[in-house]
């Protein structure tokens, strides 16, 4: 994927709700428009990140799956 993230957050191995809590913290630290790449292994993170971005008003720019990892690109949008 040709998105260049401003920050990378690896939540591999973490169970719910840690990926959401860590993502929130990381996105809070970004500037408007910057992109966080979040890597998780929790299969629940796919629907959770969709819900989280919908509720918080940030943008899930793209997501992909590779080698048991779930990768999300989240743009700080507010």
């Amino acid at each position: 994927m040709s998105i260049t993230p401003d920050q990378v957050l690896d939540c591999s191995g973490m169970a719910c709700p840690m990926p959401i809590l860590k993502t929130k913290k990381a996105v809070d630290g970004l500037q408007l428009g910057q992109i966080l790449k979040m890597i998780a292994t929790d299969p629940g993170s796919t629907s959770d990140m969709e819900a989280w971005t919908r509720k918080t008003g940030h943008t899930l720019v793209a997501s992909e799956q590779a080698d048991g990892k779930f990768i999300f690109y989240i743009k700080k949008s507010k």
């Binding site: 840690m18 929130k24 989280w52 509720k55 918080t56």
Partner: protein
């Protein structure tokens, strides 16, 4: 589409067992991460969750708990030491699944602004003092919780 949404979560934590302590803390921290306002009312045995140094020592009941992954017959569950055995097993499953410790979730709840309300009446009944509780807890009564809950909150009880 006119869907009504709420940005408040009001939780009652009633039980002081390992398994019962997780849902309120997971949902509260997740709610805070979703920019929701959240309050947990710790009442009766739920006070154990916010007693200093107690969170990671909460236990699971092996008796009358047929849903445990390895069910223990009640007659065996009655034996001395079985609560510790069941708790040890549960903790090792949690650890294997990389679930955060209760103390970590508590810390994150306080840090992320979840209102932690200890029930004054329960404290009086059970002889718990404010200094027995973790930092960041407020001691109040039913009206405090209800005022928060009445402002369009989703309310859950565990």
């Amino acid at each position: 589409m006119t869907e009504s949404t709420s940005n408040r979560l009001a939780i009652i934590a009633l039980h002081g067992t390992l398994d019962a302590a997780y849902p309120p803390l997971i949902l509260a921290t997740a709610a805070a991460a979703m920019d929701m306002q959240c309050a947990i009312f710790f009442t009766f045995y739920g006070l154990e969750i916010i007693r200093k140094g107690k969170a990671d020592k909460l236990q699971v009941a092996p008796i009358a708990n047929p849903a445990m992954p390895m069910p223990v017959p009640n007659i065996v569950g009655m034996l001395p030491g079985m609560t510790a055995v069941a708790t040890g097993m549960m903790n090792s499953w949690m650890h294997k699944a990389n679930v955060a410790k209760l103390s970590e979730l508590l810390e994150m709840a306080v840090e992320s602004g979840v209102r932690m309300i200890a029930c004054q009446m329960s404290m009086d009944v059970m002889g718990v003092k404010k200094e027995d509780l973790i930092d960041g807890v407020e001691v109040s009564g039913a009206a405090t919780f209800l005022e928060f809950a009445s402002q369009n909150a989703i309310s859950l009880s565990f």
